[in-house]
């Protein structure tokens, strides 16, 4: 989880990723950020996030994103 927060903090240092659950709905993360996140998750976790998982349900919070990474690692 710390590694993921690190990736996210590099994009927007001021956001409280521990508690924020509206990263997409409040437009905190945009399409520019999404591609950077997917690329960094691939580099650091060796996980490819597929296109059909790029919805707010997985990107609205750091916790949801981490759950997705864990699930994809397990598959």
């Amino acid at each position: 989880m710390e590694q993921l927060i690190e990736i996210l903090k590099e994009l927007h240092p001021d956001v409280d990723y521990e508690n924020c659950t509206t990263l997409i709905t409040d437009k905190i993360l945009d399409s520019f950020d999404m591609i950077t996140i997917i690329a960094e998750v691939h580099n650091r976790f060796d996980v490819v996030i597929p296109a059909d998982e790029l919805g707010p349900e997985n990107f609205n919070s750091a916790r949801a994103l981490y759950a997705l990474i864990t699930r994809l690692e397990d598959e």
């Binding site: 950077t36 997917i38 690329a39």
Partner: protein
């Protein structure tokens, strides 16, 4: 069979009466027969290509689904036996199989679309390049007829195949139901591009006659005909006169032509979609909305979220996201960040993906450089406006509260309309160079007084302009009212007399002010040709 033809109205009436007379379990079969009849009216040739799309998509979806089930069962059976690595390796192997079937299906169907739609465009470009070096054209054009609605039904069906491939939709077991999904006649020629998960349930379900549903559908159909016949098919005469004779009509005429075309396109496309959704509603079938008052948008990105919504979401879900998450783009992102810094690393992949998506959107609209340039210009404007966000934020911080001012809101709407209308000029003129030239004359050749008189020589009388103006104001008022919820719902709460009065007024307005009839060449919908 055009929606605006008397044959279509008669056909629709017959199908509708039969639909509610036969046992409900046969309704979907009747719709399928109606689809075949409707499509065959435009020539049997098109049925062949649609048949290929239905059969290949059905087969691909069924095989992918079977492979998936087999994989799930095998993984479950070996849960205790296999290690994590063995399970992953097996899943990868099965995924590769599924991907091959999926790509095969995609290639066949997009290949058909590409060959039929873009062969002559490719030949023209090759000839153009050859002419630069040899001075003559070397390849003859081929005579290919584009089957009706092929761009729409191919995209809709490929969306279904992608959903099955991703495991987001179940493969349809009945090929005839699959055929109905592909060919549903109201939406066949100009969308909306429906998702299988949303449309299939309502399409195959039995529907008992419900007066309210049919009445609401009829109201929407009439409203669509009003927009199409009273506004679009009347103002098109002036648009054609202006864009057809660029040597004569420049400057202020071009400005008028640009606004006239904006009104025509809006009335034509939203009118067509109103007819489509209204007809489906009369059958008890709910189609996805394709517009949400797009000309009220504050910026171009918002406009594209509210105009041709189903096409926009199709490109987002099936091209923008897969491309964004593809290995080449991820590698590009990493490379750019390492070599050019974080800021460039964030931007370059998104610029690339956005340009590719808008290139595809442009060429989907038509096989010409006009549409490609139009698509790319949309991308440029969207990216520029995204880049300018810090500037806007500074401006708004400097003038707090300005966003809530009505005048500022109007300024934003006018800006969007003018921007989109000027980009749409590329639909009208015969090539890109001419479009830019005519756009330029709006700033150099502004003889408004002479042009105002000349507007009456474009094939429309003062009465025609008055009818269009009143109709546009009416559409605007209805759009403003719609922001507070469904007008039909509110109308339904009024007395029956008021409801009938409104519907008959609409009907008479179409009959009296509509541009149609014997000797009048009712125009095809603009989006039919895409």
């Amino acid at each position: 069979m055009l929606f605006t033809s008397f044959e279509f109205v008669a056909f629709l009436a017959c199908v509708l009466v039969l639909y509610y007379l036969i046992p409900v379990r046969f309704q979907w079969i009747l719709l399928l027969v109606a689809n075949v009849f409707f499509y065959a009216c435009s020539g049997l040739y098109g049925l062949l290509f649609m048949g290929v799309t239905i059969v290949t998509s059905y087969a691909a979806a069924r095989i992918m689904s079977a492979v998936q089930y087999h994989m799930d069962d095998t993984v479950k059976a070996h849960k205790e036996v296999w290690s994590k690595q063995e399970r992953k390796a097996y899943k990868q192997q099965i995924k590769r199989k599924k991907r091959m079937i999926f790509i095969g299906c995609l290639l066949v169907n997009l290949g058909i679309l590409a060959v039929l739609k873009y062969t002559n465009f490719a030949i023209a470009n090759v000839n153009g390049i050859a002419a630069l070096f040899t001075g003559r054209h070397s390849i003859a054009r081929v005579n290919l007829v584009l089957p009706l609605g092929i761009s729409f039904y191919t995209f809709q069906t490929m969306g279904y195949v992608i959903d099955v491939y991703r495991g987001k939709a179940e493969a349809e077991k009945n090929i005839f139901k699959m055929a109905l999904f592909t060919s549903f006649f109201p939406q066949l020629i100009q969308g909306p591009i429906s998702r299988f998960g949303e449309l299939s349930q309502t399409l195959y379900a039995p529907h008992r006659f419900d007066f309210r549903t049919v009445w609401f559908g009829l109201e929407r159909v009439l409203w669509g005909y009003f927009k199409k016949l009273v506004i679009a098919d009347r103002i098109v005469v002036a648009v054609n006169a202006i864009v057809g004779q660029p040597d004569i009509y420049s400057g202020f005429y071009v400005f008028c032509g640009m606004l006239f075309y904006a009104a025509e396109l809006y009335a034509d496309f939203t009118g067509g979609i109103d007819i489509t959704i209204g007809i489906a509603q009369m059958f008890g079938i709910q189609l996805a909305e394709n517009f949400e008052r797009p000309y009220f948008s504050k910026n171009i990105a918002e406009y594209w979220r509210r105009w041709h919504i189903t096409m926009g979401t199709w490109f987002k879900d099936y091209l923008f996201y897969p491309l964004s998450a593809s290995m080449p783009v991820l590698s590009m992102s990493t490379f750019c960040r390492r070599h050019f810094g974080a800021a460039a690393g964030r931007r370059i992949p998104v610029y690339f993906v956005t340009l590719v998506v808008w290139f595809a959107t442009g060429i989907w609209h038509g096989a010409s450089w006009n549409f490609i340039v139009w698509g790319l210009l949309n991308a440029v404007v969207i990216l520029l406006s995204q880049e300018c966000r810090p500037l806007y934020e500074k401006f708004h911080a400097h003038f707090p509260g300005i966003q809530k001012k009505y005048a500022y809101r109007i300024f934003q709407v006018v800006r969007t309309v003018l921007l989109m209308s000027s980009l749409r000029m590329l639909d009208c003129y015969r090539n890109v160079g001419l479009t830019f030239k005519m756009f330029g004359t709006m700033f150099t050749d502004w003889n408004m007084t002479a042009a105002m008189k000349g507007l009456l020589q474009l094939g429309l009388t003062a009465a025609d302009y008055a009818v269009v103006a009143v109709a546009v104001v009416l559409v605007l008022c209805v759009s403003l009212k719609q922001r507070r919820g469904s007008i039909r719902e509110r109308l339904y709460e009024r007395t029956a007399a008021v409801q009938y009065l409104v519907v008959f007024a609409l009907l008479f307005a179409i009959l009296i002010f509509g541009a149609y009839g014997i000797g009048y060449d009712a125009n095809q919908f603009i989006y039919n040709q895409f």
